[in-house]
């Protein structure tokens, strides 16, 4: 589609897109039945911080690159959990491209601040290992291309101005880690490095982040830089989706030299080391640079063959000579016809041709009559030619080749044998490696503020969304017919804080879970299983006969709809607000799934509600 035309109609074509425009245009592009010729692409992103904010920007910039992006953003900071579980939301999404975005500063809060010997390398090595492992695991289940972000230098480096001068500083550890990442990913077919480090460096590290957005929502990129990020990622996604072009076909007049050879003669055209000829000479250099990558060159020009031959052979400043050209069509036919003939002559599809022409009229003719040929959006000023060629993206040579596709199939067959063992080990190993310690205790005056905040603000991992006030909770704490429990979680990297709360009401011989909430950042670690086990044990020791849990559906808590059934609770009946009640008899053997997780060590606080 012509996104620019669409944007003009949508009323934004006259000025650069603002954030609100991106939101509106993205919605329009994603609408069912929206007419376009974009290539649909289901792209999944797993990230160690919040990436969702980028969605509208990605959709619009994806359209600019010919893609209709449908995105899936994985739950916060979940990699192994999503990749290893064949029933995870990631696998159900059936992505056609996977992006992994893991930042070392998200894995270790000291990264960028502290500089104990070797500490950066350790965090980075762990990140690289985890990423490679995830890619291998994913590759055993899917042939979709994987983009792995490399590591950008953070705004703050521990040794400041002379960080680059010290041999094992963060700057050097990062460079080494990026080399290592690239090298290990090269062994896995259909996998590429997404050069996030290059993106941030080019945009400017100092303006990349907005401290407010990080502090409030763990969004690592400022609002102003979202379009830049989206453009870069969209371009990388397009590169792994569309086949690369094979041949650049060039116009001559006012493209490879200034002026028109038919009018100005060989001595009158501008080409040389002085301005304006120098601009065209530099452009010829950029064109020849493409041949180093294996791109073929051809020429299509409305001129006389003999005149053109003379310039190509004899003009002393020409860098592009006849021996560089695989085909030529110099005549007065429509260029669209010539282009198709060149494709036939070279035995490639016309869609493998890219045409660079300064004339909008000619480009219009080709778009109308040979639309499969890719056209560079050439600016009016020749000073912009090199950049237009560089940015068009058609030569981003990372599309999966036929050979690569075969390698992927062989790789998958090999992996399937070890599949079950490998995949069931990975998540457990990962969780065990976190060295988690859960402190269980009763809610009291020291933590009631935080508890009330969790109960009041949690939307997703919230079974009943009952917004008890702090006063309500305080009453439950001192009431013999209620138990109030919290979990505070620590792991290898630090304290996650108080992240889960359970409020239980005792009604006769039933223990009813009134409220069960957990912070997003603790998801995927089985903490909720630990809390439920604790609740069940407390109920049992009180002499309760049944443990009951309710689920009240809202727009935001779909992820916990199956929590109780998955842990072996049976459905008892329906309740108000479209909810469901689940339970099991404490006198029976507890459900097999409900046991204290192996990967978490248990600590009790001074008092536990009973």
């Amino acid at each position: 589609m012509n996104l620019e035309a669409f944007l003009t109609e949508a009323g934004t074509g006259q000025r650069p897109l603002r954030a609100a425009d991106y939101a509106r245009v993205a919605r329009e592009l994603s609408r069912e039945g929206f007419d376009h010729d974009l290539r649909p692409l289901r792209a999944a992103l797993l990230s160690s911080c919040s990436f969702q904010f980028a969605e509208p920007f990605l959709v619009v910039e994806g359209a600019r690159r010919g893609l209709q992006l449908r995105t899936f953003f994985g739950p916060f900071n979940q990699f192994e959990q999503q990749v290893s579980d064949p029933r995870s939301a990631l696998h159900r999404f059936e992505s056609e491209a996977l992006v992994l975005f893991m930042r070392p500063e998200d894995l270790d809060p000291d990264f960028g601040f502290r500089s104990a010997h070797g500490s950066h390398s350790e965090v980075l090595a762990s990140a690289v290992d985890r990423l490679v492992s995830c890619v291998e695991n994913y590759r055993s289940r899917s042939a979709a291309p994987v983009l792995v972000a490399n590591f950008a230098v953070p705004q703050r480096v521990p040794l400041g101005l002379f960080d680059a001068n010290v041999s094992d500083s963060l700057t050097h550890a990062l460079a080494e880690a990026n080399h290592g990442l690239r090298s290990r990913l090269a062994d896995i077919p259909g996998t590429v490095v997404w050069d996030y480090a290059g993106l941030v460096r080019d945009a400017g590290t100092s303006t990349w982040t907005d401290p407010r957005m990080w502090a409030l929502a763990r969004v690592p990129v400022s609002a102003e830089r979202q379009p830049t990020l989206a453009r870069h990622l969209a371009r990388t996604l397009a590169a792994v989706t569309f086949p690369p072009a094979k041949c650049l076909v060039l116009d001559l007049d006012n493209t490879l030299w200034g002026g028109v050879i038919g009018d100005d003669g060989i001595d009158g055209i501008q080409l040389g080391d002085d301005y304006p000829g120098s601009v065209f000479k530099a452009f010829q250099r950029a064109v020849l640079g493409l041949t180093d990558r294996g791109i073929l060159l051809a020429v299509v020009s409305k001129n006389y063959q003999s005149v053109v031959d003379q310039v190509l052979r004899a003009h002393p400043e020409m860098l592009i000579r006849p021996e560089h050209l695989s085909a030529m069509r110099v005549n007065w036919q429509p260029k669209s016809t010539n282009l198709r003939e060149i494709a036939a002559e070279l035995n490639i599809g016309a869609d493998a041709l890219v045409h660079f022409d300064d004339s909008p009229v000619e480009r219009g003719e080709i778009a109308a009559n040979a639309p499969e040929v890719r056209l560079v959006d050439v600016p009016a000023d020749p000073l912009g030619y090199e950049r237009a060629l560089h940015e068009c993206g058609y030569f981003d040579m990372v599309a999966v080749s036929q050979e690569d596709r075969q390698r992927v199939q062989m790789y998958r067959a090999q992996k399937t044998r070890d599949d079950v063992r490998a995949s069931s080990g990975t998540v457990e190993e990962f969780l065990a490696g976190l060295d988690m310690i859960a402190e269980i205790g009763a809610v009291d005056s020291a933590n009631i503020g935080r508890v009330a905040q969790l109960v009041g603000k949690t939307n997703q991992f919230n079974l009943t969304t009952r917004r008890h006030s702090q006063a309500d909770i305080a009453r439950m704490c001192s009431d013999a017919d209620h138990s109030t429990m919290y979990i505070r979680l620590r792991d290898r990297f630090g304290d996650l804080g108080l992240i889960a709360v359970g409020l239980v009401s005792y009604q006769g011989t039933d223990a009813v879970i009134d409220t069960l909430v957990m912070s997003c950042r603790a998801m995927g670690r089985q903490v909720e299983i630990a809390l439920l086990w604790e609740i069940a044990e407390a109920a049992r020791s009180r002499g309760c006969l049944r443990l009951i849990g309710d689920y009240v559906p809202t727009a935001r808590n779909g992820i916990v709809s199956e929590l109780y059934p998955s842990l072996g609770f049976s459905r008892i009946g329906a309740i108000d607000n479209g909810g469901e009640r689940f339970g099991f008899n404490l006198a029976d053997l507890p459900p097999a799934a409900l046991k204290w997780p192996d990967s978490i060590r248990r600590e009790t606080a001074l008092s536990v509600a009973g």
Partner: protein, 85 residues
Amino acid sequence: MNHIPMADTVSHRLREVMASVFGIDPASIAPDASSALIAEWDSVRHLQLMLALEEEFQIQFEADELVGLRSVDLIEARLRGTQSE
């Protein structure tokens, strides 16, 4: 030429931005609208809204404002505070 009171322009522009971010009809945004009353106004979209307003009105919110301005009347009051004079 009619004099357009500043308050109406702020109100109108605010609703246009909200319509873009939330995908709702600007005319449906009541004066007492807030994040509690509009389903689409969740925490991700709230941040999108605040940053879109920064761009539209060429202002910068403090971090506390980014968190706290969750109703149309609070936002309008804040915006009018910067648009007057």
